[in-house]
Amino acid sequence: VDDLVFWLLSRVTGLSAFAVLSLSVLSGEALRTSVLDALASNRAIRRLHDVTTPLWLPLGAAHCVTLVLDRTARIEPLDLVVPFGVPYGPWQVGLGTLSLDILVVVTLTSWLRRFMSNGLWQWIHRTSYIAFVALFLHAATSGTDFDAPIVSAIAWSTAAALAVVGVSRIVWGRLPA
């Protein structure tokens, strides 16, 4: 298979993973705020949040695999774990690796939640905000399609909305319905 096919697949899966991860962060924030209270109950939002993980996981994995298979990108399997090692874009690509590492830990600890204290799990789960910020910076600084108006408009507006809700959550706690 030509390198170009892997390159196109990595871009498709990267954009899609960003969209689904945005939905995951939105549903997670909605559990602690009231932004989606008018749409559904907290239990329904929780189920929505749970179902987003099996949606973004294959997309993110496909993004990583296709980048490794694309010889032009020169991403080694070690670069998927250890950040900031890619020679031509160390921190741009490294932010994606950092985001992946954090999201893997967050996902694993969510699956193993019954074996740890609730406080520890919450603090680990809150690092997903850091992961999303790193993911957004990774996409904005290394994404091939992020300079396109339609892509950047959707991505920036989504990130800005999530940031507003996140900051509101930090400052005011649970928002009134």
Binding site: S16, L23, A40
Partner: protein, 137 residues
């Protein structure tokens, strides 16, 4: 809104994002303004060296001219297998080593050695069928 409808909406958003991304990426296959531009790996460097023995050129003696000496490039060897009604013929054409370009233009060589054709030992030589052209552009 019930939970199952939210799940269906989540699947729809995911499929829609994949479809939309695919449509956009296929219609914009290349972006010259992409922020990261990794250098294209030279496929010649990644391949294994050709086991065919190639003639080597002895280095020239140093001269007093300040012009930097051109560096010798690898000898190019072109091999091909041609199927004929009487069998398969392997043809190996060894081109003479070429000189790499230098910062200062150098005059073209006046006489270039002609390419030599080497036939592998286990291959029987035969005449090639005449090539007939059917289309002209």
């Amino acid at each position: 809104v019930p939970a199952w409808l939210l799940r269906i909406l989540a699947f729809a958003v995911s499929l829609g994002s994949v479809a939309g991304s695919t449509d956009y990426v296929l219609s914009h296959a290349k972006n010259p303004a992409a922020p990261l531009q990794p250098a294209v790996v030279d496929p010649v460097e990644s391949e294994e060296p050709d086991p065919t023995p190639v003639p080597t050129r002895t280095p020239r003696p140093a001269t007093a001219t300040p012009t930097p000496r051109p560096t010798l490039a690898a000898t190019a060897t072109v091999s091909a297998r041609i199927s004929t009604p009487t069998g398969t013929v392997a043809v190996i054409v060894t081109l003479p080593p070429t000189e790499a370009p230098t910062a200062r233009p150098t005059p073209p060589p006046t006489a270039r050695p002609t390419p030599t054709v080497q036939i592998s030992a286990a291959v029987r030589a035969t005449t090639l069928p005449r090539i007939t052209t059917t289309h002209h552009s």
